[in-house]
């Protein structure tokens, strides 16, 4: 499927790539986004709703609501800065201790994720013609979730180290190589999908075994520092979630306020109309 939307966004600036241990190039330039802008014509899309609500609040001079939103946003921004700072500290600390420290644990988790993917995808593969694509989607989502989780929590100890990068790269090859090169076979039959799933499980599980076998634990003063920083990061993330919930509650209140206003207006219209009719009847009498 190809979209024809032409708008191109430009995301935040990407800094030097410190996460890949020299495998990737420095990317100090602005990264151009490939994403087309969303279609905003639908009534319920999040963008329209958000803008409509904030705009309505402004137009109706609901300054208190606006203040609350700004406060929540400001709070979120502040917390995001704290999170970044905590992550930076954790990353800094991680550079001073052995990469192998937590690799054993990470590797075994990856192996488990692969098995889950395999079991889900096998179940999907037996359910119909669209199954191979659905299996790809599930596999992609699980791989993404695992990688994102690593990037946010555990992988901090290892990011920036070439061996770790090599491990993930190998894992990526095992998963994606089989997906990408499946090509027509993947789309054509469930057996292609099953083969793909087998490759995922075998590849990742194999990598896990090797990596777990190679892992060593090295205690150091930096480890303690890092765990403190990670705790800060997790706590700040929880605060951000709380702010987001607050923001959503405010938006929901605004929406309810708007609905309530509409109900009152409708009620007044009815009253005025009734009053008008009464006056007409009175005049006739």
């Amino acid at each position: 499927m190809s979209t024809t939307t032409s708008a191109v966004g430009s995301g935040p600036v990407s800094g030097p790539d410190t996460y890949s241990g020299g495998k990737t190039r420095e990317t100090s330039r602005q990264v151009q986004s490939l994403l087309p802008a969303p279609h905003l014509g639908l009534e319920l899309d999040a963008f329209s709703m958000l803008f409509a609500l904030t705009s309505k609040a402004r137009m109706d001079d609901q300054s208190s609501s606006e203040r609350l939103i700004r406060k929540a946003e400001g709070e979120r921004s502040k917390q995001w800065d704290q999170l970044r700072s905590a992550l930076r500290k954790a990353l800094e600390a991680s550079r001073h201790k052995s990469f192998w420290h937590d690799l054993g644990g990470i590797a075994s988790k990856v192996g488990r994720v692969a098995l889950v993917v395999a079991s889900i995808a096998v179940a999907v593969a037996s359910c119909g013609a669209a199954a191979p694509i659905a299996a790809l989607a599930i596999a992609g989502a699980v791989m993404s979730a695992a990688a994102m989780a690593q990037s946010e929590l555990h992988v901090l100890q290892a990011l920036g180290m070439s061996d770790k990068d090599a491990f993930w790269f190998e894992m990526g090859l095992a998963v994606g190589g089989s997906l990408a090169t499946g090509g027509a076979g993947v789309g054509a039959s469930a057996s292609g999908c099953l083969k793909t799933v087998g490759c995922i499980a075998d590849g990742a599980a194999g990598a896990s075994t090797v990596a777990a076998g190679a892992a060593k634990v090295e205690e150091s003063v930096y480890q303690k520092k890092e765990s403190y920083s990670n705790t800060d990061a997790v706590r700040t993330r929880a605060d951000i979630s709380k702010s987001n919930r607050l923001l959503m509650q405010i938006l929901a209140s605004l929406e309810e306020c708007e609905r309530s206003e509409a109900r009152v207006t409708k009620h007044f219209s009815g009253v005025i109309e009734a009053k008008g009719q009464a006056m007409v009847l009175a005049a006739r009498a």
């Binding site: 190809s2 993404s144 990408a180």
Partner: protein, 135 residues
């Protein structure tokens, strides 16, 4: 054992869900909240696995958190699941370029150019050229 209840939605409802998810994810992405955006795009991927934007968006989130190898796999899968997708080929080229695999990157860019020209979408062709030159 309790059997799952099948959920039937109309094509219009599915399209609306996809657009809503994309808009929400896009909003988060533009805020720089790549982890949450990725979570939304993962749902979108389940709803619309043949929509190129699902793969593109999720892959780009991983690019932004410096995981080009994960992005590469997602872009690559997108070229198969959502074909023909010039943007997925373009992303694949960019990820390969970031991983310093220039020959494969060039082949991917060439495919992106071919598909963009075939689509007669001037903006898409310009985007492909811009990204290719910048990589």
């Amino acid at each position: 054992m309790k059997q799952p209840v099948p959920v039937h939605v109309t094509e219009a409802e599915a399209a609306q869900s996809t657009e809503t998810l994309y808009a929400a994810g896009y909003f988060l992405f533009q805020q720089g909240n790549f982890a949450d955006a990725a979570a939304v795009f993962r749902w979108m991927l389940q709803v619309a696995p043949t929509d190129e934007r699902s793969w593109l968006a999720l892959a780009e989130c991983h690019e932004r958190v410096h995981q080009p190898w994960i992005a590469l796999e997602l872009y690559s899968t997108g070229t198969v699941a959502a074909e023909p997708s010039a943007r997925c080929w373009l992303g694949r080229g960019r990820a390969l370029s970031a991983l310093e695999r220039p020959d494969e990157a060039e082949a991917a860019f060439a495919e992106a150019v071919r598909l963009a020209q075939a689509s007669n979408d001037v903006n898409l062709t310009e985007l492909v050229e811009a990204v290719r030159c910048g990589s």
